[in-house]
Symmetry: C2
Subunit: 462 residues, 2 copies
């Protein structure tokens, strides 16, 4: 039996080296959205990607401005109105990376070693979004057409929580109109266990500042009668958690939809052992709310983490000061139906209520993102499962993801379409960490799976 | 009545502008001992000072190596063996200073404004040590001789707790041999209330590191089952203090010599009001152990302060990680008879005992300094009081200092001589803070006081 995906799959194999060299080029651009110093690199990355889309044969390729970093858009609508339209979302921005964080090689000079591509953004998300660009290119080059209409919608602010994405979607609802959205920005446990995510956690990201003296004080002249802001911050932080490692902010869990026994049974099938968690992360012991298993804690339960903390002198040697201030970045991973803004208000009110009068404490909101949940028995999800069976060579599991991709809930809300999250990374790819990597084999199997998925989606309206 | 100090005092007045311009030159050299990047500036500062001493007429001026930054030494021994020998100790190194800390002008480009010299090191200690260099120069230029023998002993590592000073003193006991040591590296409350310090606090300076995951983790993929190292650090810090703001480390206060009712009565005469403390520091409220008044808390009681704290992402924007580690610098100001090494052991043992098994905690010793206490009815102290009356124009008080000058206890122990601390700064000079400053008037009154003190010391053996 022949398929219309056969020639594109063959094309993707014969062009595997070319695709990989192109990905290397893309990875060399340090498109760090959080750092204003890299604004030029962000523009460069957008232009590089637009040029690649044009070369692949996409139409109406454009770098579209936002209040922040631009969106890259391109489309191929030659399948006609009777065929489904697929919106592929991805992001070309990456999180910061410095050699001194522990990289073995330059994070922006990709190195292939033991079947992995090492570079910042390799798996999150340049490598994964590239899979879809190359799948569509394979159709257009091998067949001159694709079985469905495809729109590529690649943003540059995912790693700073997509502050300008909702206005962009609202303004371009017609342009982006589609029947299903595909996102490849997640991961699986092992290459033989591909996973389709049907749930993601939301996010409330905050910054806290505690102010004491007007300036740093000489600790010998003044120390002993000033509440050290770093001490005050630590005392506040220590009250964020209860003894049982649950979050102490009043009302924090009020809107959490409880897990049903059925869901818990499904999650238990893919639970992580303590040994696996320790081996993957390097922690000396597992921590958390003992009322939930590890997989539930990291994917189905809300969190409150300190992402950064600072005060006073952090350079070499001693400096004997009482610091003027201390601060931290904290963020909550949220689950349905927690509202990100409501969580901010609860945290802010609680911290202000426990801050002692000997310092001033301020809590600011940085970014938010909603949680998302989709049923997995709909045709678009089941078609994705068949695509993995044919294109990847393994049956996928449906699972919940612990991460947050702000656009997912927004696309579902604003466009009224399901979002299918087909992650082609591995759980231990080290995204957001030093030595981020992406499996070469999975890159190529991903392209074939994406090729087959377009064919499977076409069948839904044949 | 004429004095042998008359001509030198007159000389110091006619050369006031020159002395100040020389001080500006000295202050322009960013001699930051804590930062290896400034090693060249340290050498430059030492050479500049040695050249100034030679020009003033001192003999045997030398830049003497240590395992760290060098000592600058110079002497004038022309008074002969029948006259006392005075050892002047000071330091030419300064603490770090960056514009972004809140400086209004370049910390290493001195600016005179409203009668103050603004620059890092202006009061601590370049301006103050320079008083003695210029006092001796005034004698040698005006009279061709000084009434006592003088040795200038200026080190370059005071701000990093003088790690190489004790070996240096031990190795050069003959060279440094003297009858009394003078140090000007402290301050008074107001220009009309000069203070002679007879006590200083000691120091134990430590660094704490809490390690969790092997690398920063993606908080969405792994968050919820890893003990956040910043949270763990905060939980440890929160246990360093009791509810009443006393230090919770078992045994911490065991060796503190209790203040007698007489001492407390003397201290009460110079107590600070809450308003004064708040106005000087900018804190919103006074803090500390309510069993002691403010002056006792900042000068006669031990402390435990966080000097710096760090974890994870502190750059702009959000980064959603569970940090791999968190750390802090903490230091204790000690009072007699607390032993700095014993305090380190107590703090280390306590932190290790309260650190949870879900992280690894390590406590390292950075530096130590002993506390010091001298009687104030000895002739050298009383001669200093007379020098203030004649040279400064006000009667000094004898008081305890909250700071730590490691050399003080060491000189007393190793050389068996008293140390007279005649501080010419103001309590609110902002040392170790942005916009450090030094009063021009006090610089010149200090030189005259130092000139008179040498005469008063000569009288002790007339």
């Amino acid at each position: 039996m022949t398929h219309i995906s056969d020639a594109p799959r063959a094309y993707s194999r014969t062009h595997a080296d070319t695709f990989r060299q192109q990905l290397h080029e893309f990875l060399r651009i340090p498109s760090i959205s959080a750092d204003p110093a890299h604004a030029g690199d962000m523009q460069h990355a957008a232009e590089w990607l637009a040029a690649d889309m044009r070369a692949a044969g996409l139409d109406n390729v454009a770098i579209m401005p936002t209040a922040g970093h631009p969106v890259v858009y391109g489309e191929w609508l030659g399948a006609g109105p009777d065929k489904p339209t697929v919106l592929v979302y991805g992001h070309y921005d990456v999180v910061p990376a410095l050699m001194e964080d522990g990289w073995h090689t330059d994070p922006f000079e990709p190195v292939e070693k033991d079947g992995k591509i090492y570079a910042r953004g390799a798996t999150d998300d340049k490598g994964q979004l590239f899979i879809h660009a190359k799948a569509l290119e394979s159709y257009l080059k091998a067949n001159g057409s694709a079985p469905v209409n495809v729109k590529l919608f690649i943003e540059g602010e995912e790693e700073v929580s997509s502050p300008n994405l909702v206005p962009f979607i609202k303004e371009h609802l017609d342009l982006l109109k589609a029947d299903v959205c595909i996102i490849s920005d997640t991961s699986m446990r092992s290459i033989e266990e591909p996973a389709i995510l049907h749930s993601l956690r939301g996010m409330t990201y905050m910054e806290v500042e505690v102010d004491g003296p007007a300036n740093d004080l000489h600790s010998g002249l003044w120390g002993g009668a000033a509440h050290n802001p770093a001490l005050a911050l630590a005392q506040i932080v220590a009250k964020l958690y209860n003894e049982d490692n649950t979050i102490a902010v009043p009302g924090f869990y009020d809107d959490v939809v409880p897990l049903t026994p059925d869901e818990r049974a499904m999650i238990a099938k893919t639970d992580l052992s303590e040994d696996d968690y320790m081996a993957s992360t390097g922690v000396p012991a597992v921590w958390g709310d003992a009322a939930f298993n590890i997989r539930e804690r990291i994917a189905a339960r809300p969190t409150l983490d300190i992402n950064g903390m600072w005060s006073g002198w952090t350079g070499p040697g001693p400096k004997t000061i009482v610091p003027a201030k201390a601060g931290m970045k904290i963020s909550s991973r949220l689950v349905g139906n927690q509202d990100p803004h409501q969580i901010f208000e609860l945290v802010k009110r609680y911290i202000e209520s426990i801050a002692p009068p000997t310092v001033k404490a301020e809590v600011r909101l940085l970014t938010t993102g909603k949680a998302a949940l989709f049923p997995f028995d709909i045709p678009e999800m089941q078609a994705a499962a068949r695509a993995y069976e044919r294109g990847w060579g393994a049956t996928p599991i449906f699972t919940r993801g612990g991460g947050s991709i702000p656009v997912v809930a927004e696309i579902a809300d604003l466009m009224g379409i399901p979002v299918v999250m087909m992650g082609y990374g591995l759980d231990d790819d080290g995204l957001h960490s030093p030595n981020e990597r992406f499996s070469v084999e999975m890159f190529h199997r991903g392209i074939e799976t994406a090729i087959v998925y377009l064919e499977e989606l076409a069948k839904l309206r044949s």
